[in-house]
């Protein structure tokens, strides 16, 4: 039985950070595609249909990770891919006080399936991805 490689889309505006994370993902034999902003990420979610999305929250635009995540989970445009798991990858301190959970939910925003702090520990990242892709 041949198993196609699973595809992960990483959306982050820092190309070096993408490269470092790509190294981790490739070491676990994932196929990796990247997008450098939420708008490009939005297009690629629809065209590439990734198995999972790693999403940076703070990007230099009003259309940020929160908005994109909310759109994927709730908008009609994304109906066909709305079950794609999303992991927020962000330097937690920037979303002040988020240690105890995703605050956006209180403001009626659809939350991600998981979130992980920058810098990510390779083993932790792979374990979290694996868990979401297996279920």
């Amino acid at each position: 039985m041949t198993k196609t490689r699973q595809k992960i889309l990483m959306i982050d505006d820092d190309p070096d950070f993408c490269e470092a994370l790509t190294a981790i993902l490739k070491s676990a034999a994932y196929e990796v595609i990247t997008a450098s902003n939420a708008a490009e990420g939005k297009k690629k979610i629809l065209s590439e249909k990734p198995d999972l999305v790693l999403l940076d929250i703070m990007m230099d635009s009003l259309f940020d990770g929160y908005s994109l995540c909310h759109a994927v989970k709730t908008s009609k445009e994304f109906e066909s891919v709305k079950n794609t798991p999303i992991i927020f990858v962000s330097a937690v301190k920037e979303i002040a006080g988020s240690r105890f959970g995703f605050k956006g939910e209180e403001q009626g925003m659809a939350g991600p399936d998981d979130y992980i702090d920058k810098p990510v520990k390779p083993a932790e990242l792979l374990a979290r991805i694996d868990k979401l892709l297996r279920t």
């Binding site: 470092a20 301190k93 240690r99 105890f100 990510v120």
Partner: protein, 371 residues
């Protein structure tokens, strides 16, 4: 921008008509009201730029219009018309917020000049307001932006270190591994410093009050204890919860920053403890305050250092504390937050025996209590 809208409130039809005629020639938009009450209603609905109001009207007087106008929008300019041109009533009107007054009879030119001046004044006031708002917004955004831009490159460097240390990019010898590990730790320290610095800049008492809500400190502390469990176990410290049952725990506060205060105090208590030490978290009350105490059995603070412990950048040297340096801002931030809540933070300590940090926050007085 549309032409300025001027509302004329006067019970005399001839006066309303005359003013309207004069103003239309100067290309103002006009509205009229024949009594004070309907004038106020039009002010609420139309938000005119300026109001010309007769002081002496049956029913709601010009003075009453002035008083209410101030509550609706103090930026609306008012010019009062006084039939009985006594200085007294004009002065009283100015005291009540009128911009200027016009004694009857007046020439079209006099009305135009006064109105133009009033509107210019209004334009400047509105502009200054907009500038103030913009400046405030910019200040808030600068902190977020600086935070993001300072942190991003550092986080990326750390990410590379993580990848290298995990061996994903190729085998790494013991010595380089150790060195990169140390570099990563120093970078951690730098990131913490930046975080603390930005917190210090961000915590603004005025702005905090805007986010105050009813808070159950008991719940907040129990959640924190759970969160701190792993850190305590890791360092072999026992963590005890000693909330006095039935003790008041409700305060008015900002959950996020108070959480930060107690996280900081608890993690210090764990970090600077002795092996096998103990940390007790106590919740109690006195007449005015909800009191939270964090007691540790750690290294303690010497009497000479005690007075400076809440100062910015004060640090006990590494050889004395035996720990990695922090930013020296943690307790200063805690103090700033507690004081923004009208509370107090204190410390009692003896070297080698441990420290007790006490946070007092004003209780919410039960409704109807006379005290």
């Amino acid at each position: 921008m549309p032409e300025p809208l001027v509302l004329i409130i006067d019970d005399e039809e001839s006066m309303r008509d005359a003013c309207t005629q004069i103003l239309l020639k100067s290309r103002y938009r006009t509205e009229t009201a024949d009594n004070g009450a309907s004038g106020l209603q039009k002010i609420r609905d139309l938000r005119p730029d300026a109001v010309i109001v007769d002081l002496k009207m049956p029913g709601t007087s010009g003075f009453e219009v002035l008083e209410n106008l101030k509550l609706i929008d103090p930026q609306i300019m008012t010019i009062v018309i006084t039939g009985y041109a006594t200085v007294d009533s004009a002065v009283e009107a100015m005291k009540k917020g009128a911009y200027d007054f016009l004694p009857k009879p007046f020439t079209p030119e006099e009305l135009r000049v006064i109105l133009a001046r009033a509107l210019e004044r209004r334009r400047l006031a509105l502009e200054a307001d907009a500038l103030r708002r913009e400046k405030k917004l910019l200040e808030e955004n600068v902190i977020t932006m600086v935070s993001h831009q300072l942190r991003s490159p550092l986080v990326t460097i750390q990410q590379y270190f993580e990848v290298i240390l995990s061996g994903i990019a190729g085998p790494v010898g013991e010595k380089p591994k150790e060195m990169i590990g140390r570099a990563r730790d120093r970078l951690d320290g730098l990131l913490n410093l930046i975080n603390d610095w930005l917190d210090m800049a961000r915590i603004d008492a005025q702005r905090l009050i805007g986010t105050f809500e009813f808070l159950d400190l008991r719940k907040l502390l129990e959640k924190l204890l759970e969160f701190m469990g792993p850190l305590a176990r890791e360092s072999g410290t026992s963590l005890e919860w000693a909330g006095v049952p039935g003790s008041a725990a409700e305060v008015q506060g900002d959950a996020e920053t108070l959480e930060q205060v107690f996280t900081n105090l608890l993690s210090n208590a764990i970090k600077y403890n002795k092996p096998g030490g103990r940390v007790r978290l106590i919740l109690k009350e006195d007449r005015e305050c909800v009191i939270v105490e964090i007691q540790d059995t750690g290294i303690g603070i010497s009497q000479e250092h005690l007075p400076f412990i809440f100062d910015q950048f004060f640090q006990i040297s590494r050889s004395e504390s035996g720990k990695m340096k922090g930013s020296g801002l943690g307790l200063a931030i805690a103090k700033k937050i507690v004081e923004a809540h009208n509370g107090r933070i204190e410390v009692a300590s003896s070297l080698g025996m441990g420290s007790t940090f006490t946070v007092r926050l004003p209780k919410i007085q039960p409704a109807g209590a006379s005290a």
